[in-house]
């Protein structure tokens, strides 16, 4: 595959269809600028600022853009809030739709058949594979990203974090907790 992709890039460059430096710039963007720390800061802000949380619930695209996270695969955002009764889980059964602007590029498992096939029919089994076992009474809501809305899970704020700064809280927010396959880190983990 390496040779095949190199050949394709050569042909497109020779024909003037692409600028190889643009490819470098795209890669650099997702390596250094756009990743799950963006989403973590959105979640942390929602935890400390109830007005922001309300805005995020009502108009996630605008509330997230307020923190300067915009763009490709984040044009139409929805934030879904976990509650003590309901746990949210996001999947794209049809391809690999994922909120790039807040989480960056999706991990391999998110794009692969085992997760995409099972998340909608056996979410508890899926969560168990991530080491997450929820009470049998917890409702599980699976969001299949079949259109252009992109979903960010806002997990519950961990207990024992009273007085934490936004930065300290953001450090607890894992990528998986914003997909729904995990929970934020416990406070003793930091």
């Amino acid at each position: 595959m390496a040779a095949r992709v190199r050949a394709l890039e050569t042909i497109l460059t020779q024909k003037g269809l692409i600028d190889p430096l643009a490819i470098d710039a795209i890669v650099e963007t997702y390596e250094t600028k756009v990743g799950p720390r963006n989403g973590a800061s959105v979640v942390a802000k929602a935890w400390v600022d109830s007005e922001y949380a309300d805005w995020l619930k009502r108009d996630a695209t605008a509330a997230i853009a307020y923190l300067s996270y915009t763009g490709r695969q984040g044009e139409h955002m929805q934030a879904v809030f976990n509650t003590p009764d309901t746990h949210n889980l996001v999947v794209c059964t049809l391809c690999s739709c994922y909120p790039w602007s807040v989480l960056g590029l999706p991990p391999v498992w998110y794009k692969s058949p085992p997760y995409r096939s099972r998340a909608v029919i056996d979410p508890r089994g899926v969560l168990a594979e991530f080491g997450l076992t929820l009470p049998a009474t917890t409702n599980i809501r699976v969001w299949d990203s079949t259109a252009e809305l992109r979903y960010l899970v806002v997990p519950l704020r961990p207990a024992g974090t009273e007085g934490f700064t936004e930065d300290q809280l953001a450090a607890l927010v894992t990528r998986d907790s914003m997909i729904g396959t995990g929970l934020p880190l416990a406070t003793e983990a930091v």
């Binding site: 394709l8 490709r72 059964t93 049809l94 029919i121 809501r141 699976v142 969001w143």
Partner: protein
């Protein structure tokens, strides 16, 4: 189309096996695959729906034995050939042989940051009012088009509840095939686990899809 991509509820793919401390890319060619796909798309000759349809048109055996960046590259080669930019012979020989179609535009490095930050919004005004409102019970249509659709098989012919009325969005079923954007309202529709998977299903499970208006009828 009922292609390999329509995975919801299928079985036999084994464990998810999340990789600990997974790197962003697993090989340098994956970086180029990402960049080439975005940069070639920025020429403006096809839309995201046609891209998706091209990927899901891979033979199922090919789709399931490819990693996602491999699927992207196979799809990109097909798109570039369909739109006259490159030929199969060029791909075989690994260099350009003739000029091919002139692109509408070329994404330059200095414009990458702006293009990525802008994205490609696909909400569109719709002339009519939404047919459904939050709380309405609806049934999804049962259809099996050979063309692109975003109504997964597991959610066809099922009864659910409208949870939210979204904006009007480009209709992928026509847009993927050069037949226009034909925007429609999109609705978040929630189904119970038992409605989709039968009486044995987990009663604590609900699943939602985002459905274009023409996928739905009143229930």
């Amino acid at each position: 189309m009922n292609g390999a991509q329509d995975l919801g509820g299928q079985m036999g793919f084994g464990p998810i096996a999340p990789e600990k401390d997974e790197p962003l890319f697993h090989a340098d060619w994956e970086k180029r695959a990402l960049g080439l796909t975005i940069a070639a798309g920025a020429m403006g000759h096809w839309n995201i729906d046609e891209s998706r349809h091209t990927r899901e048109s891979l033979h199922p055996a090919d789709y399931y034995s490819s990693t996602y960046y491999e699927i992207w590259i196979k799809g990109l080669e097909a798109l570039l050939q369909r739109h006259g930019f490159i030929s199969a012979q060029e791909l075989n020989e690994g260099h350009a042989l003739d000029k091919g179609v002139k692109p509408k535009r070329v994404l330059k490095a200095e414009n990458v940051a702006g293009a990525l930050a802008k994205g490609g919004p696909c909400d569109r005004p719709v002339g009519a009012k939404p047919r459904f409102k939050a709380g309405d019970r609806v049934k999804t249509r049962n259809f099996n088009p050979q063309t692109h659709t975003r109504l997964p098989r597991y959610a066809r012919g099922k009864t659910g509840r409208i949870e939210a009325v979204r904006d009007g969005f480009v209709f992928p079923d026509t847009n993927a095939h050069g037949k226009g954007e034909n925007p429609q309202y999109v609705y978040t529709v929630v189904f119970t686990g038992p409605e989709i998977w039968g009486d044995e299903a987990d009663a604590t499970l609900t699943v939602s899809i985002d459905a274009w208006e023409s996928y739905l009828e009143p229930a």
